[in-house]
Symmetry: C2
């Protein structure tokens, strides 16, 4: 069996350089790294990562905990995290922590405590008190995306602003009967959804429309928005002239329902979302754009900064959503 000395000899570098290239620790030029990797491949040499970890005290692995992987925002953040980790030779261990499941309890009680990662990125996790306590016990840097945790670094958008801006856009178009659609179903009312509801309520109150403020609850998904909108829009007496949806998925579900019910968008109903989902363009959806891939990448940068500098104080990176006007919104038709 070949050893590191054989790899170094074949690549024409020192053992220390070969070791750095193979473990990803310390700087090695891309050309040297390629040469060492080729030499290792041709000799069939692979370093024992367990031995590497013990020697360096680093797992070269980042844990990512998220409650969903099959929703657009979470999948996009995950892609945004994976790319810069790959570039740095770091592994990504995924913990899928759906709220209220036994699997989630095991992740907090058992998996995270094993600390098989140098640091953790928590995406939309909203830990309960007991879970938060477990996270604190880990003693590894944590960066949250869309979190509200004090004491750790956070990457997010200003949700209050996004919903406020969406609502103001409709008010500027002459709408007064504006419903906020989505969130608030079941036990787990996400904080991000509550913050958006608050932004809507503030904009309505500022425009003197507090009395017509209405929140219609729905699951936060396309089918959830569809179901709630079928119910809401079916009766023309209670139908609003405009909707602010908690996110694009709910907005898209509402547009699909409108088409099915023969309620023209934007002729009889204006709809604004928050996200700029991959389907937003297909539905001509006016929305507040956020860029979850950038949020994922920013979380990686922050985490690496904390690893380099253990006593670095927590930072909050807040990105601003941007209004994109497409044709799902229009001026209120004069009666």
């Amino acid at each position: 069996m070949s050893g590191i000395a054989d790899v170094a000899a074949l690549a024409g570098v020192s053992k220390a350089t070969a070791s750095r290239a193979l473990t990803g620790s310390g700087h090695v030029s891309q050309a040297t790294r390629s040469r060492v990797l080729d030499a290792a491949a041709s000799l069939g040499y692979v370093p024992s990562t367990s031995a590497v970890s013990l020697a360096t005290g680093r797992t070269r692995n980042v844990g990512v905990v998220m409650p969903y992987v099959n929703r657009w925002f979470f999948a996009e953040v995950l892609e945004g995290i994976q790319q810069p980790l790959l570039e740095r030779g770091l592994d990504l261990t995924l913990y899928d922590a759906k709220p209220g499941t036994e699997g989630r309890a095991r992740i907090f009680d058992d998996f995270l405590a094993r600390k098989r990662f140098d640091g953790l990125i928590a995406v939309g996790l909203e830990p309960e008190d007991r879970e938060l306590q477990r996270l604190m016990q880990i003693g590894r840097p944590i960066v949250s995306v869309v979190g509200a945790d004090e004491g750790s670094s956070v990457v997010s958008i200003d949700d209050d602003y996004a919903a406020r801006r969406a609502t103001e856009h409709l008010i500027a178009l002459g709408h007064t009967d504006i419903v906020f659609l989505g969130g608030g179903v079941g036990e787990h009312w996400a904080q991000v959804d509550r913050r958006r509801l608050t932004g809507y309520e503030a904009a309505m109150a500022e425009a003197g429309l507090a009395s017509t403020t209405r929140h219609v609850r729905s699951e936060v998904s396309i089918p959830g928005g569809y179901d709630a909108a079928v119910d809401l829009l079916g009766d023309s007496r209670t139908r609003p002239s405009a909707l602010v949806a908690v996110c694009d998925e709910v907005a898209i579900g509402a547009i699909i329902a409108s088409r099915r019910l023969g309620v023209p968008v934007p002729g009889a109903l204006s709809v604004v979302g928050i996200d700029d989902h991959e389907y937003a363009e297909m539905f001509s959806l006016t929305t507040l754009q956020q860029l979850p891939r950038q949020q994922g990448a920013a979380a990686v940068e922050l985490l690496l900064a904390h690893l380099d500098e253990p006593h670095r104080p927590p930072t909050s990176v807040q990105m601003q959503a941007r209004l994109i006007v497409r044709s799902s919104t229009s001026a209120l038709a004069q009666a």
Copy 2:
């Protein structure tokens, strides 16, 4: 600092039992395991996993390589994999290997060669020759989902059958002008999409309809199906009476396009998909149902069997798709 002996003493078990409970190796009852974990938590004791790995020769980690995480099928398979791994105390390291990217090259050249996992599950990977060679070099068990690799175990559905059954359903309803929609765009024409096209062609040929066989290419996504269908359905002279879509996402895109163009489904156009996507019900989509979560779970079972029994021969598990008739298909209207 507390050691394993302190944990064992507090939990009232032997050191060997405490070690088994903490590392997940060997059998320990759930009650004992809880007691040991509580003792470890109260003492702040966590085993060094690097030391554990060196001692047991196992990483207790499964690698999952997939080209996408943000498409329904892949996200569902991932959920199906995560659940049984969690139950067994195994970590999941995710490698997001988009075709044609530099990240993918690094995964094959570098990440996989480090072998930081006991085994690998490759989902819809379709490795090129060079990549396949790298996979063989790893010398760890590999199970493919939707793969066509010889030499490793595979979990899949019979794609040929699914597309054939979808086509036969339309033929039985009196349709003859049936288009196969989707796939075949760009460099990466997935084998699964080709197999489905072949099933459609076979069913058409058997019904004496070989001369009206038509494949319209599209990206395999809802927007991809939408774009291709807008083009195809816009002209009533070339519009078919029915579509077999390569998957539900393409079928749903086509239905959204039909509604936009005022082409009633199923009145003027019948549409069948393959998947039973989470949105299928919302669009009343007739489809061939597959259950990707079950495929993910089956892949985990197979991988564990290979780990327990290193010389076990490769197995192929083929699941059958099931026709679900909703209201996106109907008998051909008599002219």
